[in-house]
Amino acid sequence: MNNKMLKKPLPSPEKKEIKLGYMRLSDSAPLILSQELGLFSKYDLTVSLKRDVSWANIRDKVITGALDASQMLAPMPLVTTLGAAGIRAPIITGLALSLNGNGITLSPDLWKKLSNHITNCGSPYFNQRSKEEYLKTNKQITFATVHPFSTHTFLLRFWLKSRGIDPDKDVKIIVLPPEQMVDSIAQGVIDGFCAGEPWNSIAVSYGVGVLAASGSQIWNNATEKVLGVLEDWHLKNPATHLRLRLALMEACEWLADMNNRELAIKVISKPEYLDISEHSLRPSLTGKIAYNRVNDSHDLPNFHVFSKYNAGFPWRSQAELMLKECENLLGKEIEQAKISSISQQCYRTDLYREAARHLNITSPDSDYKTETITDQFSDLNNGINESETPAIRH
């Protein structure tokens, strides 16, 4: 396809003053950098960034118009359009802001106990007998995730299943705000969690957590955060929406260059943005991750993915997989026809393609690709087994 031929002049924005929501997380970098690199102004938008404290607030504020657009958890447009989480409103996305970026952290105690039950080389895996033994002799194991309908919940469930643990029967899964994860695991309120950064790195650096898997090792290049807007807002402000996506796509491209990451860390660390130390933000954003406090960091350059591998493309195959996973949480089946219609309504590949043409970025030909969930964690587990955390080997 000849992109240049399809390129049209950029229409003027219907609305210039934009309120854009985000959360206190490392992967909010694209929104903050768009502002700091002057990319919003380049597209003639005046954006005020609004940091919020809960995803529920972000959703409600987008619905009521208190926010024009916001960073959102990837499943949020789908689930809100479906009306599965209380409130129902059609929310769409034409741009994924980041891929991966999460980790599963276990308390050193749980890590040790799991390692005692290793049945296949290197990676903790329960067989039926050891699992029964373990669950009989141990108190209720509690895991935390940051929101019910989140990649975090899906990753945690995938990982538990791959370890031979039934996420519904063998453990309790609760939701905690990400900022409470480190304290909660330190105090023994939870035995493990799946959260975004920097909360895994902080738990590891305090010695209260061991990183058991990164999101990229479970479901590689899963869409993590998206730019969400009300469908109706998009219809009223298509040119503003396009400009917003273009600015953010340029910021993502800037972030894709690992040489820019140190500067990004410096900027997002500021009190007016994340107000988190550079030291805590550094591991995941530079892709040098320590699995526990004592061992050296390992190279995971794709811990966060911005722009690379068509990262901005809102794959409908991912939307479908996420909706399918929601069935487990809702305890009921969602009709296949509904899954595919909601995916098409919310994950607007056409809007991504429109923006990509303006930036001469080649879009994928199809809206669907094969999604692979792995249950092999050789890399990380080798890393952890080299550490002081004792792992009994057969």
Binding site: S54, D60, T64, G86, I87, H147, I174, P177, Q180, V189
Partner: protein, 200 residues
């Protein structure tokens, strides 16, 4: 809806870091005949508190990160079978807007009759709003007071430096404010900065 359930008093839990506001909401609710089980700050183990107190309804400050926790109870609740429905399920968008504006929202732990719940939420919204305007009035008063003291300080500095009386100092300040197109407090600020620099 079962009648017996309908007649039971609704037990409410309040989650709010603003202690005064929480107290005022509780006072109004109690006066209206509702039962407030407890008031909690946002960080104290919300799930544990819900298990302990078994509320029918939770009113929560929008500034609390605990909202995501409450929303999870309806879906991740294999171990806690109580359904939680967010009240804003009501299809009136103006209602959600009012709640978001006021900064409060509600979660129901049981299937309660919306007609019984609405007055509670209305009351909370009204209380949050009046707290908001009280807060704004207080902030405004404090700002005025701060401005006044800046102006006074600048006047004293001018009086000392130029050996003039208060009236003259005030006039000087006013002229500066008009000439430089600044507000009086801003002009006072620049005078203070300048004077303090020259002293050093």
């Amino acid at each position: 809806m079962i009648d017996i359930v309908d007649n039971d008093p609704i037990k409410i839990m309040l989650v709010d870091d603003h202690l005064e506001r929480a107290a005022s909401v509780e006072e109004k609710l109690t006066a209206a005949g509702f039962i407030v089980l407890c008031r909690l700050p946002t960080t104290t183990g919300l799930l544990h508190q819900i298990e302990q107190h078994q509320p029918d309804m939770v009113l929560i400050d929008l500034q609390s990160p605990g909202r995501d926790v409450l929303e999870s109870l309806s879906v991740l609740s294999h171990h806690n079978p109580k359904p939680v429905v967010m009240f804003t399920e009501e299809d009136d968008p103006a209602y959600i807007e009012a709640a978001v504006d006021a900064g409060v929202t509600a979660y129901l732990m049981d299937e309660l009759n919306p007609k019984r719940v609405k007055p509670i939420i209305d009351l909370a919204i009204a209380q949050f709003k009046s707290y908001q305007s009280l807060r704004q009035a207080l902030d405004e008063a404090q700002r005025k007071l701060a401005n006044q003291s800046i102006i006074e300080k600048a006047k004293v500095l001018l009086m000392k430096k130029h050996n003039i009386d208060e009236n003259k100092a005030h006039k000087t300040l006013r002229t500066l404010s008009m000439d430089t197109n600044q507000s009086l407090p801003d002009a006072a600020k620049s005078v203070i900065e300048l004077m303090e620099k020259t002293v050093v």
